[in-house]
C-alpha cells in the first residue's frame, strides 16, 4: 500500500481526474484505511475549489479600447486580403 506522502502527492491529480486507473485504485485503497488522508483530501478539494473560483479580472476601459484598436488594425489587414 502507498504511504501518506505518496497519497498526498497524488491528490490534486486525483481531483483533476488525471490519474491512471492503477494509481487511482492504490490511492483509494489508502484512503479507505487512513483517516488523516481523508481529511487532507477533503481540504484539498476545498482549496482547489477556492482557487478555481478565483474570478477573472475585468479589463479596464482604457485597455479594452487599446485592444479594440489593435483588433481593428488586424481586421483591416484581413479585409485587404
Amino acid at each position: 500500500m502507498i504511504d501518506c506522502p505518496e497519497a498526498v502527492r497524488r491528490m490534486w491529480a486525483y481531483l483533476d481526474a488525471a490519474l491512471d486507473p492503477g494509481p487511482t485504485e492504490e490511492l483509494e485503497v489508502h484512503l479507505g484505511a487512513c483517516k488523516r488522508c481523508c481529511g487532507e483530501l477533503e481540504f484539498s478539494r476545498e482549496l482547489r475549489g477556492i482557487v478555481a473560483a478565483t474570478n477573472s479580472p475585468v479589463l479596464s476601459d482604457e485597455l479594452r479600447s487599446r485592444v479594440e484598436h489593435l483588433l481593428g488594425t488586424g481586421h483591416a489587414r484581413e479585409a485587404d486580403r
Binding site: P5, V8, R9, W12, A13, D16, A18, G39, E40, F43, S44, E46, L47, R48, I50, V51, A52, T54, N55, S56, P57, V58, L59, L63, R66, V67, L70, L71, G72, G74, H75, R77, E78, R81
Partner: protein
C-alpha cells in the same frame, strides 16, 4: 539560396506564394511582381517560424481538423477579432496571474494578441483556438522572463524542494488558529479573497504556477496543459504537485504576515 524559389528561363521566378483564391497553388510571377512579392514571402516565412513555435501549421483558406477518428474535417475560419474577443477576459486573467502587476499583464496581453494575430493564418484547428491563444500567451510570458534574465524555472526544477513536505492541512491543525471552531480548515480558507489569492500567486515560481492556472482556474485538461506548456504529462503532474505545495505555504505565510491568523511563533 532562397529556399522556395528557383531561377527560370529569364522571364521570372516560380515562387510558391500562397494563392489567396486557390490556396496551396503557386503563382508564376513576372520578375517585377516576384521582387515585390518577396516581402510577402518574408512575411510568410516569419509566420511559419512563429507557427513552429506555437505548434500551428500552414493554413489553407479553411481550417482542417483531424479528430480522434483520424478523419479530417473542415470548419469555417472565423475572423481573428471575433475569436480574440471571445477569449479576451480569460486571456487577460491568465496574463495577470502570470505577471507581476497590471501594467506588466497589459503589456503581455498586447504582445500575445499581436503575435497571435500574425500567426492566426497558420492555425489549422479552429476548435483548438482557445488552447492555441493560451499557448501564444505562455510563450510570450516565457520570452519576457528570459529577456529579464529570470527563467521560468529559476528554482531548480529537479532539485529537492523545501516546500515539498509542507502540509497546510497539518500546519493549521497544529497551529490551531481558531481554537473554538469546529470547521478549522474551512475557516482558514474563508479568510482569502480573490486579491489575496492573486497576491500569493505572484510569489510562486512561474513554472509551478502556470500548470495550476491552466488546469484549476481555466479548465484545461492535463493533456491540453501539456500542449500549452510543451512539457510531458509526468512533468506536468510533478509541477502541479510542487505548485500546490508552494501555494499552500504561500497562503499560510500570507495569512501570518497579514495577521489574518494569530500564531504563537512565525514559521
Amino acid at each position: 539560396m532562397w529556399p522556395h524559389g528557383r531561377r527560370d528561363a529569364g522571364d521570372g521566378l516560380d515562387i510558391p506564394i500562397r494563392n489567396r483564391e486557390y490556396p496551396g497553388l503557386a503563382r508564376r510571377l513576372p520578375l517585377d511582381d516576384a521582387l515585390s512579392g518577396l516581402f510577402d514571402v518574408i512575411e510568410e516565412l516569419s509566420t511559419l517560424m512563429i507557427n513552429a513555435a506555437e505548434g500551428t501549421n500552414q493554413a489553407t483558406g479553411a481550417a482542417q481538423t483531424t479528430g480522434a477518428t483520424g478523419i479530417t474535417s473542415t470548419t469555417a475560419r472565423r475572423p481573428f477579432a471575433e475569436v480574440a474577443r471571445e477569449n479576451l477576459d480569460r486571456l487577460y486573467g491568465y496574463c495577470l496571474h502570470l505577471s507581476r502587476d497590471r501594467m506588466d499583464a497589459e503589456d503581455l496581453l498586447q504582445d500575445a494578441l499581436i503575435r497571435a494575430m500574425r500567426a492566426y493564418d497558420g492555425l489549422r484547428d479552429q476548435e483548438a483556438v482557445k488552447t492555441w491563444l493560451f499557448t501564444v500567451a505562455t510563450n510570450c510570458a516565457r520570452d519576457r522572463w528570459r529577456a529579464r534574465g529570470r527563467e521560468p524555472g529559476s528554482v531548480p526544477l529537479d532539485a529537492s524542494d523545501p516546500d515539498d513536505e509542507f502540509s497546510l492541512f497539518a500546519t493549521i491543525a497544529i497551529e490551531d488558529p481558531f481554537p473554538y471552531s469546529d470547521t478549522l480548515h474551512l475557516d482558514f480558507l474563508r479568510l482569502f479573497e480573490d486579491e489575496d489569492i492573486q497576491a500569493v500567486f505572484t510569489t510562486m515560481t512561474p513554472a509551478f504556477r502556470a500548470p495550476i492556472l491552466l488546469t484549476t482556474i481555466h479548465g484545461f485538461s492535463c493533456k491540453e496543459a501539456t500542449a500549452i506548456l510543451q512539457i510531458p504529462l509526468g512533468t506536468l503532474l510533478s509541477r502541479l504537485h510542487r505548485g500546490r505545495k508552494q501555494l499552500e505555504r504561500g497562503l499560510w505565510e500570507y495569512a501570518v504576515r497579514r495577521r489574518l491568523v494569530t500564531v504563537s511563533e512565525e514559521p
